[in-house]
Subunit: 124 residues, 2 copies
Amino acid sequence: METSKETMEVGRKLVDFCKRGDNLKAVEALYSKDVESVEAMPMPEMAGKKGIDAVIKKNQKWMDDNEVNSVSIEGPFPLGDRFAVHYKFDATNRNTKERMKMEEVALYSVKNGKIVKEEFFYTM
Amino acid sequence: METSKETMEVGRKLVDFCKRGDNLKAVEALYSKDVESVEAMPMPEMAGKKGIDAVIKKNQKWMDDNEVNSVSIEGPFPLGDRFAVHYKFDATNRNTKERMKMEEVALYSVKNGKIVKEEFFYTM
C-alpha cells in the first residue's frame, strides 16, 4: 500500500509540534473538527464526548494533571493514509507527586490533509 | 475500547518468539492460515500472494537475504482486538554486504486467538 506524501507531511508536522511540547498547537493545526479519538483505557470524563473540542479538553487535563520530566517521540511510521508514532513519557502527577514512566503507540488516520482519527495503544 | 485478555496473550507470545529469533515459529503458532499481510512498500515477489504460506515465504526470504546483528522489540501495545509492536533491526545484507538500520511499527489484528492481519508501517 503506497504511502501518500500527504500522510508523511502531516506525520512529520505532528511529531515536530509534539517534540516542541506544542501538543495543543498540533491538534489545532492538523486535526479535523470531527476527529474520532479512541483510547485503550476509556476515560470516564470523556465518555460520549466527540470531536476536536473533546480532544483539546483531554490534552489540557493531561497537562494540568502531569508535569512532563522528559519525552521520547519516534516516528512517523507511515502506511497508506495512516501513520504510527511511539511515545515515551516520564511524568510526575501534580496531585499525587507520583513519578511514572508511560509509553504508547498512537495510530493516526489522515484524510484531506487532516487527522480524522487517533487511536492509542497501551497498557496501564 | 477494552483490550481483551486474548489480544495481550497473543501479543506477548509473538514478542517472546521474536525476541528469541523464532519468527517462523511465531507465524506457525499464532497466525490464521488466511492471514492478510500489508506492507508500506509492496514487495514485487509477494504481489497477489496471500495467506500464511506467503507470510512464511516472505519471512524466509528476509532471513536468507539478511544477517541480523541486533534487534530491539518493544511491545505489545494493545487496543481492543489489535496490538502494536515496535521493531528495530541492525542487519547486514548477505549479497551486498551493506549494513542497515531499519525500523518499523507492526499492527496486528486478533480474532479467535489467531493473528488475522499484520500491517507494517515504515519508510525506506
